[in-house]
């Protein structure tokens, strides 16, 4: 078992805090819980206006893309800050899927043309790999027949918002396929803020980008690592909101938050959220530096999903009957947290990966 030489930088820089404040301001003004709930019931689950402000207004879609290719040349650390805030707002925008996962796949293929388009935010990309796929797991492919693509791929996150799909094929290559060249069938997702679709290709033409294996691995690893930042945002919202509510809510002639049984549960939740923040920060830093990345990402994902789910489940329970209503936003967070616990590999899948990475082999 190797130990790390240099410890990761687990703090936030002043620039990162400024970025956080800007994103949070935007989300406070344009992504309130009531609006998110209303949007989940509409025909357009994504919020294109919010995406435009984030991507074009603030230039956040191209954070991971080098300046030479039209991006911001920033790092995973800044992206993680954005995702923390997007998680805190359960924002219905394809940021993780397009600005992180699709972007990382294209960076692996070094496709300047599409990278430039994604950097602007005017083009949204989606990797056509099931959202449940862990970084090291097998993924579905489509058939290549006479130069065109045939097949069906399920549980493709944010495909309905995408202009271009990145499709792995059975010849080992990743193809860029225009969204209007495929058939999209929206699925009914548990998490309405991150819609899923089945993608059917029936002789679609695609542009070959490069080898799929390396691109998909890299994309999923970044997705898994940075998902922890989103999960921290979700958990932090759930805890903060629950504490706020329990200071106000009175039963038995005193604030409910004064009962020791509940105080201990909230304190326990706080401990986990604090731990999750360190784990998520370590993953963002490891993706940035390339140091100890596989272990750090697997640690973060082994820890993050159960904590985010528990924080939202506690929030629901401690809100009492209010927590069961459609009107109160806690269900948005519970659904996102639970769906996230399957995204880019379950905690169990990541622990299995760790067993090999840390030299703790199975029996």
């Amino acid at each position: 078992m190797s130990t790390t030489n240099a410890e990761p930088d687990l703090l936030y820089s002043e620039e990162e805090e400024a970025l956080r404040a800007a994103v949070r301001d935007l989300l406070t003004d344009h992504c309130g819980p009531a609006a998110v709930i209303a949007r989940t019931e509409s025909d357009t689950p994504h919020d294109p206006a919010l995406w435009k402000q984030l991507a074009e207004g603030m230039g956040l879609a191209g954070l991971l893309i080098p300046e030479a290719q039209g991006g911001q040349g920033a790092t995973h650390r800044e992206v993680a800050v954005v995702l923390e805030e997007l998680g805190r707002a359960v924002a219905p925008v394809p940021y993780l899927t397009s600005a992180v996962v699709a972007t990382e796949a294209l960076l692996a293929c070094d496709d300047a043309e599409l990278l430039g388009q994604l950097a602007s935010g005017r083009t949204v990309g989606a990797l056509a790999v099931s959202l449940t796929t862990a970084p090291g797991a097998a993924f579905g492919t489509v058939r290549v027949e006479n130069g065109s693509l045939h097949g069906e791929l399920t549980s493709i996150a944010d495909a309905v918002a995408a202009d271009v799909l990145l499709v792995p094929a059975d010849d080992g290559a990743l193809y860029a396929v225009a969204a209007d060249a495929v058939t999209l069938a929206p699925q009914i997702p548990l998490d309405l803020t991150r819609p899923l679709a089945t993608v059917t290709l029936d002789g679609a033409s695609g542009r070959r980008l490069g080898p799929a294996e390396v691109a998909v691995r890299r994309a999923l690893r970044a997705g898994a690592g940075l998902l922890a930042a989103e999960q921290w945002g979700i958990a932090d919202w759930a805890l903060t909101e629950t504490v706020r509510y329990l200071k106000e809510r009175k039963q038995f002639n005193r604030p409910v938050g004064g009962f020791q049984a509940l105080k201990h549960r909230l304190a326990q939740s706080w401990l986990e959220v604090v731990n999750l923040r360190a784990a998520a920060r370590a993953a963002a830093d490891a993706l940035t530096t390339g140091d100890d990345t596989d272990v750090t990402v697997a640690v973060a994902q082994s820890y993050a999903a159960p904590v985010a789910v528990r924080a939202t489940e506690e929030a629901l329970q401690l809100h009492g009957g209010l927590g069961m209503t459609w009107e109160h936003p806690v269900h948005l967070y519970l659904k996102r947290a639970k769906a996230d616990s399957l995204a880019y590999g379950t905690a169990g899948a990541h622990r299995e990966a760790l067993a090999a990475l840390a030299g703790l082999d199975a029996p």
Binding site: M1, T3, R351, G359
Partner: protein, 393 residues
Amino acid sequence: MTDAEGLRRRTQELLAAHPPATTGRLDFLKARFDAGLAWVHYPEGLGGLGAPRSLQAVVDEELAAADAPDNDPRRIGIGLGMAAPTVLRYGTDEQKARFLRPLWTGEEVWCQLFSEPGAGSDLAALGTRAVRDGDSWVVDGQKVWTSSAHLARWAILIARTDPDVPKHAGITYFICDMTDPGVEVRPLRQITGEAEFNEVFLTGVRIPDSRRLGDVGDGWRVAQTTLMNERVSIGGMRLPREGGMIGPVAKTWRERPELRTHDLHQRLLKLWVEAEVSRLTAERLRQQLDAGQPGYEGSGMKLAFARLNQEISGLEVELRGEEGLLYDDWTMRRPELVDFTGRDAGYRYLRSKGNSIEGGTSEVLLNIVAERVLGLPAEPRTDKDVPWKDLAR
């Protein structure tokens, strides 16, 4: 002089004037204290230079590279971690000058006379009495869970000086000479078989008023400094990956494939992840403190490590199969240090049960997190305005 470069230079000067190879250990430590390189954040003349605490690392690095002797911080942990910051904050100039140097060099070991059989989590309920008699105080009572009492020259002591006021108001803080008549230290044999702690009986012990720390009746406030530093020192160690209790279990797992089962594998991986995440949280706290940002995470570190140590050591006993039925040695001993790694899994399992009790029970710490960090309402208090002598005991 108090920047990193200045400290590095000053350390080199110390090493040149007192080469570790030819200087006696104690002489070197005294010279280091006098050079202000003992704890650089302490004031000049008291072993420091008033420099930022984070710069201590610069000094330690240089000294380690030169193979200089250290002051064995684990052995004098109570003095360094608890007595020193309290003396620094509340002591008179005479007290600081008398106590800090031999404390830091380890010439004088300290212990802590706080807990009593009837006052554990409710520490302010303590009943040890100190009665004024001219220039002295006469102390009678019993203390318990006192580490190092059998080795200690000095103790920090809290005692009741006024039973007619509510419990927090009638306490005074003293420095007690453990060699004085009337101080009796008895080993307290524990669940592990050894006597790491002691009971201390105080019978007519005379403490001069010049060894009082802080004002009469202000002992509770003084003790808060001690307790705050205690919790920081319990959770604040810097560890490499697998540096804690998970290390021995992981090692056994790797070396003994015949012991592995699927159930144990799942539990081991889960605890391995939790240990690594707790380590990262401790590291994040350290970085926050270095950057001068107050970190609340410290309140949680002790809670997290207590639970982890217990779960990990419990798993380790099971992992060892038939060997888990055995224990290394029940001989009653009085160790100078808690040595988790020098003993076997059964010892670790039993000793770690104390981690959620010593230095504040986990239940009390959860209350502290809930009230001070999350701002939730405090527990209803029925003892606040009642004179100590009228409390139910």
